[in-house]
């Protein structure tokens, strides 16, 4: 029995916000397809309730037994665009309501998978599903939506990009009375992972099994505390080593929880997503880690380099701690969910341009960024296209989750509360990309895709 190790673990949980961010159960709905929408939605509801009935209780039991907080229990399902394609005459919105009802019944925090994969073209149910996203997000509480509009292998579907600019804006408009929260539950991806346990982008890919348990870890507070303790004299390679050691410990916790959840629920273990996911709680911030490395404020020159070091060290430390690593795995930079980023955006140190550069070296993209409500759909599409291009060329996942703050301007704030946080509306370059976006078509896959 090593008292120091025991106290170190307890200190991480009590004072440094170590937690397992989510246990996400992936459920395939491919066997719920039916040309009759009533039958199909009933099958969806029944299957989710049957498979995930014990998910929340099991999560709570594990949390209590091991003394580690498990913040969220979530469900990811097969992209509904595939399932709803079988009932061409009915609106896919019925599926959104079925998912919401099932999520409420089993008591999870979110259910992801109101999604379409259209990186090369629209399948039978995809266009109708995309059209229904704003209404679905406005009328449900738990449903999250994502659309994959590009990949390194397929290029970028610019028709889908054009459409998504309109959809993101409409999702915000329909929920304008609730701080435009609809748009906060919608992610536009390039290279979307099929086993991501984090919302709003989680869905259960078609290559996955019938049911699987994926776990997302967290722990920016632990990494920040470790850097702070190391003092100012450390070189960057010593900091990288320190982050690796810390990431290893965090990920081992996730691996333990994943294995235990898998055993108790009799569902195969999928992956551990070794991400540093911040929360609005002070101290649990990725920006503070970067500042701890020596930047005056996140967004200063040097931020991209510091983030690259952090992202790489997290992966190197985490990968040995888990038997299967997947999902997004890296550092997240969601602006409204990170106390340090919110401060940096308020003070003007962190801009949209800097965030775009940062997304080239971290695990996600432009995440949880409030933009002026009068931003045109074409500009939103163009921001999506830029991010998708970074993802496509660098063979990495990029995502865009922008929240057009309807009726508000730069400098005003949105407040979602909870894990989604809140923050200032950031300035957007208003020069028009409309003619470029309206051309439509596809941006061909880059040379990097020709690896065969």
């Amino acid at each position: 029995m090593n008292t120091n190790e025991i106290l170190e673990t307890i200190n991480m949980i009590d004072n440094e916000d170590l937690d397992v961010r989510t246990i996400t159960m992936g459920i395939s709905l491919l066997d719920c397809m039916d040309s009759d929408v009533k039958k199909s939605t009933q099958k969806v509801y029944d299957k989710i309730c049957r498979y995930a009935g014990d998910l929340v209780k099991t999560g709570e039991d594990i949390s209590k037994e091991y003394g580690i907080p498990i913040v969220n229990k979530r469900i990811a399902v097969t992209p509904i665009g595939i399932v709803s394609g079988a009932c061409q005459t009915a609106s896919p919105i019925h599926f959104a309501h079925a998912l919401d009802k099932a999520a409420r019944e089993v008591g999870v925090n979110f259910i992801g998978g109101y999604s379409a994969l259209v990186h090369k073209g629209f399948g039978p149910g995809d266009y109708a599903l995309i059209e229904s996203i704003p209404q679905a997000l406005a009328e449900t509480d738990f449903v999250c939506s994502s659309v994959n509009i590009g990949s390194t292998k397929a290029g970028i579907n610019m028709d889908a990009v054009k459409k998504m600019g309109v959809i993101v804006k409409k999702a915000a408009e329909l929920t304008a009375d609730r701080d435009c929260i609809g748009a906060a539950k919608l992610v536009v991806f390039c290279n979307a992972p099929e086993d991501n346990p984090f919302m709003a982008g989680a869905f259960h890919g078609t290559g996955e099994g019938d049911c699987v348990i994926n776990v997302g870890v967290s722990g920016p507070g632990v990494v920040r505390a470790a850097i702070k303790k190391s003092g100012d004299g450390c070189t960057l390679d010593e900091i990288a080593e320190l982050i690796k050691r810390t990431a290893f410990k965090i990920t081992r916790t996730g691996q333990l929880v994943a294995q235990e959840a898998s055993r108790r629920l009799c569902v195969p273990f999928g992956i551990v997503d070794l991400s540093l996911a911040p929360t609005p709680a002070v101290g649990d911030s990725v920006a503070y880690i970067l500042e701890g490395m020596g930047l005056e404020q996140c967004g200063a020159h040097g931020t991209t380099a510091a983030l690259a070091l952090l992202n790489d060290a997290v992966k190197k430390g985490g990968v040995m701690a888990s038997s299967h690593v997947g999902g997004l795995s890296g550092a997240f930079i969601p602006v409204t969910e990170d106390a340090g980023m919110i401060e940096a955006a308020r003070s003007g140190a962190l801009t949209l341009n800097k965030l775009e550069a940062m997304t080239a070296v971290c695990s996600v993209g432009l995440d949880m960024i409030a933009i002026p409500g009068d931003t045109s759909p074409e500009i939103i599409s163009a921001i999506i296209a830029d991010e998708a291009a970074i993802g496509m060329v660098n063979t990495k996942t990029t995502a865009v989750r922008l929240i057009p703050a309807i009726g508000k301007k730069c400098g005003e704030e949105l407040n979602f509360g909870g894990l989604l946080g809140g923050g200032p509306i950031m300035e957007v370059n208003q020069k028009s990309p409309a003619a470029f976006i309206h051309r439509g078509g596809r941006i061909p896959a880059p040379l990097q895709s020709l690896k065969n």
Partner: protein, 89 residues
């Protein structure tokens, strides 16, 4: 299974007695105890065997947490695997 009970707080008379009698009442066997004073804080770590425990683990955990609140101490009860997996390869 083995669990770790960690007690942290201000030193006072009867901490060990209270914690161990709560354990004994539930047939939890104390295997090892170590205690020290770190910067005026009392720190006690106990390794216990809960295989004969008469109540579910969550109930044991709740009653010790409650005891901690009464005595103005922080008491954690955790499965030993969390420490093994975090600190051992």
């Amino acid at each position: 299974m083995k669990a770790v009970i960690a007690v942290i707080g201000k030193d006072m008379v009867g901490i060990l007695a209270e914690v161990s009698s709560t354990c004994a009442a539930k047939k939890v066997n104390v295997l090892e105890v170590t205690q020290s004073i770190l910067q005026d804080m009392f720190v006690m770590v106990m390794m216990v065997d809960t295989s004969a425990c008469t109540v579910p683990f969550s109930e044991l955990s709740d009653s010790l947490t409650q005891l901690g609140t009464q005595m103005n101490l922080k008491i954690h009860v955790m499965h030993e695997d969390i420490f093994n997996s975090m600190h051992r390869i």
